[in-house]
Structures are given as structure tokens and as C-alpha cells.
């Protein structure tokens, strides 16, 4: 990379250092608790993966430019400026070795939001040209095509045709005034089209109107994952424009963890104004339906099953009870993992790690944390609510020769819906 790019990267990192980040650096007591909370550190034992170390270049810029002692050290030649070699060395730690799961932020005794710091340092790495190829490609496709995986409207339309043909159910496009605007992740469209059918059936039973925007159906925000706020803002804006144009009351984020935090929490800050609609994760919507008696199920699973909490949903969104209440409708054999809910361990594939082929080996090492949780539980089925977690878990289980099917919770609930005569659809 040219020195001009590195300079740009350093400037961008400097711009990210606001009052909270400065206070995080000055309050770190070097206790190491964040290390024990991170699956990348725990499973590799490599101190480079200590969460706070992943933002060391940012700390050095902060120290050298914003603290008196740091300035003196720099003047006396006692500290070295962040350079191209640092970007080279830290790129892998910042992207491959962090799934932005937020577990480290939760345990830090002085309240440092290390996960957010890593999200922010990525801004500098991306402009310096030090982002993984896979994420760069995904981001480009998100901007140009509207989907990080290059999924076009015609693919979605084909699925809608299939849905109508085989179930008689509809997934209405661009219906103004609908109660809900449903977003989908490319992963769902490509790998788990059952999700679309599940939504159609649940909405029908609940008596709610819903729609999908032909202009903005994608929920995933690659701008957040790679760390380029301008792109992240543009992707959020597309959804906001579609929701406002259609006049919907609520936008539903699908079974995708990062999509949820991007649109729900980062979104208004990125575009600089509040929304005039609500944003909910699909599980929050389903829980509301359950509470209102709009979700009627029949039959219970007999398999011993557990729930993998998607990090963004549980730690950032605080959605803990909803999946458990919903699971209670369809199983009496639910068991919790040792560390669950807000202390759940990440599958290893979030934060853009799955989109980064280079990180595959490290990702599978990190998965061993999940494996040990599952080993001690001995379940027949694993349920989750994120398409990316689902594939990451399936891959990890397969590599470790573990025969445990992984199911999406929305799909599972839809499969237990009571069939109502005259309402069409499949059981």
C-alpha cells in the first residue's frame, strides 16, 4: 500500500477517537479479563488475539497525539509512529480474529466497549486498503447490486413464484400501507428459502399485512462489517427510503445478527436522524404475536434441543426471553448451554469473518468453544435465529463429526402453526 493510503488510514483512525474511546484507553487496567472472554484468544492461546490488543494501533495514535506523556515520548523518540508494517500485522487481528461479538465488552470491569473500538479501527484499515478481499467484494456488490452476494430481484421473484405455486401463499412486493416491511438476508434467499414461506404463513395466521420492497429487500449491511460508515449509511438509507415510501409501521430485520444491529442501532446514527417507523428483529415480532395470542401452534418436538443465541441479538439487542418463550411453544425438551443468553459464545463467523475466506482456519479453531459447549450438553437439535450462525454451526459440526441438525427458529415455529381452514398454505 502507498504511504498516502497509510496516512489516510491513520487520519481515519484519529477521527474515530472520541471522548468515550479516549476514556476507554486511559481506564484500561490491563486485567486481561477480555482475553478470557474471547473465543479467538481462548482457543488459540495466542496473546495477539487479546481483544484490547486488537486496537493497539489506535491506542498508540491516541497516546502519541492526545496525551502529554505520549507527546513527550514521541518527541524524545521513545515511541514509534504507527506505520505500514503495523497495518500489515494488525489486519488479520482486526478482521479475521474478531467477529464483533461483543463478549469482551460485556466482561470488561471498567466498561470498555472493545468490540465497538474494533468496529471503529476497521474504518482506518478499510481506507488504508487493509481490508480482506472477501469483504471488499461483498461491500462492492452491496453498493452496486444491492446485495453482498450479488442476489438480484429476479432470484427473489423466482422464490415468490415458487411460494405461490406450491403453497398458494403470497409474498407481496411493494405494497404501500402494509403493517410490516420484511427484509431478507442474501444468505436466506440463497440457502434457506424456507424462511420466506415461514414468514408468509405466520403473517397469514396473525392476520397482518406485510410487504417486501423490490428496491431494498437486503438486510445485511457490509458497510458496517468492513467498517466504512459512508457505505453503511447509504445501505441504511435505501431501507429507510423504501420504508417511508411504502408507509409501513415496522421494518422486520430477518434471522441475521449483524443486519439487526446495523439497521436498528447504528442506522439512525449513520443517517443522522431518527426513523418514523419501528425496527424489530423477527423474534421480537413473533414474541409480540405470541403475547397477543396471534401465534397458535400445535404439537411438541421430542428431540432434546438447545438455542444458540446470535451475539448481536442477545448482547446488543437484549433479546433473551423471546426465543425461549417461543421455543416453549414447540418443545418441552429445551436445555440451556452452560454459557447462554448474554454470555453465549459466538459461533465464530460473525462480523464479516464468514465472508473472509482467509479466516477459515482461524474460524474453525474458534468454533471449538461452541463445540465444547455442545459436547457437555448432548443435544439432538440446535436451534438458532441467524442464517450466518446457522451455516457456521453446520460447518463446524460437520468438521467435528457431530451429527446435530441446525434449525432456524422462525421456520420451526411456522412448521407447528395450527392449520386454519380456508386460510390456505401448508402445514
Amino acid at each position: 500500500m502507498s504511504s498516502a493510503s497509510i496516512e489516510k488510514g491513520i487520519r481515519m483512525i484519529r477521527e474515530q477517537i472520541d471522548a468515550p474511546i479516549a476514556s476507554f484507553f486511559s481506564s484500561c487496567v490491563h486485567c486481561g479479563m477480555c482475553a478470557d472472554a474471547c473465543h479467538f484468544y481462548v482457543q488459540t492461546g495466542d496473546p495477539r488475539y487479546t481483544p484490547i490488543n486488537k486496537v493497539e494501533p489506535m491506542r498508540r495514535i491516541w497516546e502519541q497525539e492526545y496525551t502529554l506523556w505520549g507527546r513527550i515520548k514521541a518527541t524524545l523518540g521513545l515511541s514509534r509512529k504507527v506505520n505500514a508494517q503495523d497495518f500489515e500485522a494488525w489486519e488479520e487481528l482486526v478482521y479475521d480474529g474478531c467477529s464483533l461479538c461483543g463478549r469482551c465488552s460485556l466482561v470488561c470491569p471498567v466498561g470498555n466497549d472493545i468490540s465497538d473500538m474494533i468496529r471503529k479501527i476497521r474504518e482506518g484499515f478499510a481506507v488504508a486498503g487493509h481490508a480482506p478481499e472477501g469483504l471488499v467484494g461483498a461491500t462492492r456488490r452491496a453498493v452496486e447490486i444491492g446485495s453482498p452476494m450479488g442476489v438480484r430481484l429476479s432470484a427473489l421473484e423466482a422464490q415468490i413464484r415458487h411460494l405461490k405455486h406450491d403453497t398458494g401463499l403470497d409474498a407481496p412486493l411493494d405494497q404501500a400501507g402494509a403493517d410490516y416491511l420484511v427484509l431478507l438476508s442474501s444468505m436466506e434467499i440463497m440457502n434457506f428459502p424456507e424462511y420466506l414461506e415461514a414468514i408468509a404463513r405466520i403473517m397469514q395466521q396473525a392476520g397482518k399485512t406485510w410487504t417486501i420492497s423490490s428496491r431494498a429487500f437486503e438486510a445485511t449491511n457490509s458497510g458496517v462489517q468492513i467498517g466504512v460508515s459512508d457505505i453503511a449509511a447509504e445501505l441504511v438509507q435505501r431501507v429507510v427510503d423504501a420504508a417511508e415510501e411504502l408507509g409501513v409501521k415496522t421494518v422486520i430485520s430477518p434471522e441475521c445478527g449483524h443486519a439487526y444491529t446495523a439497521i436498528r442501532f447504528e442506522g439512525p446514527n449513520l443517517i443522522g436522524r431518527p426513523y418514523n417507523f419501528r425496527v424489530q428483529h423477527i423474534l421480537e415480532v413473533l414474541e409480540e404475536f405470541r403475547q397477543q395470542g396471534l401465534l397458535k401452534t400445535k404439537g411438541k418436538e421430542t428431540d432434546r434441543m438447545t438455542f444458540h443465541d446470535p451475539c448481536q441479538l442477545v448482547r446488543k439487542g437484549g433479546v433473551i426471553e423471546a426465543p425461549r418463550n417461543l421455543l416453549g411453544m414447540v418443545t418441552d425438551s429445551f436445555v440451556e448451554m452452560r454459557d447462554h443468553a448474554e454470555m453465549n459464545w459466538c459461533c465464530g463467523g460473525g462480523g464479516g469473518v464468514s465472508a473472509n475466506e482467509r479466516a477459515d482456519e482461524l474460524k474453525s479453531k474458534a468454533f471449538n468453544q461452541k463445540k465444547s459447549q455442545l459436547d457437555e450438553l448432548g443435544v439432538d437439535t440446535l436451534v438458532t435465529a441467524c442464517a450466518n450462525c446457522r451455516i457456521t454451526l453446520e460447518e463446524g459440526l460437520e468438521r467435528n463429526d457431530m451429527d446435530i441438525p441446525v434449525i432456524g427458529l422462525t421456520e420451526m415455529l411456522a412448521d407447528h402453526l395450527v392449520e386454519e381452514p380456508g386460510k390456505g398454505g401448508e402445514t
Partner: protein
């Protein structure tokens, strides 16, 4: 001679079958769309299901093979993907379900779920104006199920 005219009949017929028969019919459904994939592992996995004397261990191995094929064929998160290339993935998912014990974690019929995955495999290949391909797969499934039921009757199973 039993005939199956529509999906309601098909579904009802599949629901009445025991799991072994469902697996067998499901494997025939997958064979019908097997041309959409080059993964030779799947043909072998399906042949195990169709064999009446397959042992539990063989079935388990067939299931593992099909699952591995499905994971190999999935569209990777964030990777450049093409919907029209997804057929092999859905064929492999169908084979995974067909070789499984039951419809995983659902109350749906195993063979029906396989039928749906096979139709999805066809759906990927159908162009925007081509409604026929998926309909062909549907009618093939009705015919396969009817023939299976009739052959069982002929062999004195009912």
C-alpha cells in the same frame, strides 16, 4: 390403479407412509432432479436409501455424505453468488433430508420436505418466463409417488 392428481393428494399420500417408505419415495424424488448436480456422492447415498436391506450404519453414512455435499454446495456468506447456480445445493439438501431419520425438528412429512427442496432446485433453473419446469417436477413427483404406492400394492404390502 392409484393416481395422484394434485398436491393435496400427494401430501396426503406421503403422510400415510411410514418413514422407510417415505425415505424411499423421497430418494426417487431426488433421483428425478439428480441431473442438476455433478456431485457423484449423492447418487451413492440415494442408492443406499432405496435398498431394502440397508443397515442403520449404512444409512447414517449416506446421510453424512449428503450433508457434506450440501455444505460444500452452499452459497458462502458474502461470496459472489448466482441463483441459477444454486440447484446442486438444493438437490444436496433434498438428499440430506431423504437420508435423514425424520424431517429434522419439524412436524412436516419427510418426503414432502424433500419434494419441496427438489422443486426449489428446479426453481433456480427456471427463467422468469418459464413456469413449466417446476410444474414438470411437481407432476413427476405425483407420478413417482403413485407408481410407488401401486408397486407396493402389487407386492402385497397393503
Amino acid at each position: 390403479m392409484r393416481t395422484i392428481e394434485n398436491d393435496d393428494d400427494l401430501r396426503a399420500a406421503l403422510t400415510q407412509m411410514d418413514v422407510t417408505d417415505q425415505r424411499h419415495v423421497a430418494a426417487l424424488f431426488v433421483e428425478d432432479v439428480l441431473e442438476y448436480t455433478h456431485d457423484s456422492r449423492l447418487r451413492h447415498a440415494l442408492s443406499v436409501v432405496i435398498r431394502a436391506d440397508a443397515s442403520e450404519a449404512e444409512l447414517k453414512a449416506a446421510h453424512r455424505t449428503a450433508r457434506a455435499a450440501a455444505l460444500d454446495a452452499h452459497a458462502r456468506c458474502g461470496a459472489d453468488s448466482d441463483w441459477s447456480d444454486q440447484s446442486p445445493y438444493f438437490v444436496a439438501r433434498a438428499a440430506e433430508a431423504a437420508t435423514g431419520k425424520n424431517a429434522k425438528g419439524t412436524s412436516s412429512t419427510l418426503a414432502w420436505l424433500v419434494a419441496m427442496q427438489c422443486r426449489m432446485a428446479t426453481c433456480c433453473l427456471a427463467s422468469e418466463t418459464d413456469q413449466e419446469s417446476e410444474e414438470n417436477t411437481c407432476s413427476a413427483q405425483r407420478r413417482i409417488a403413485a407408481e410407488f404406492i401401486n408397486s407396493r400394492k402389487d407386492n402385497g404390502h397393503e
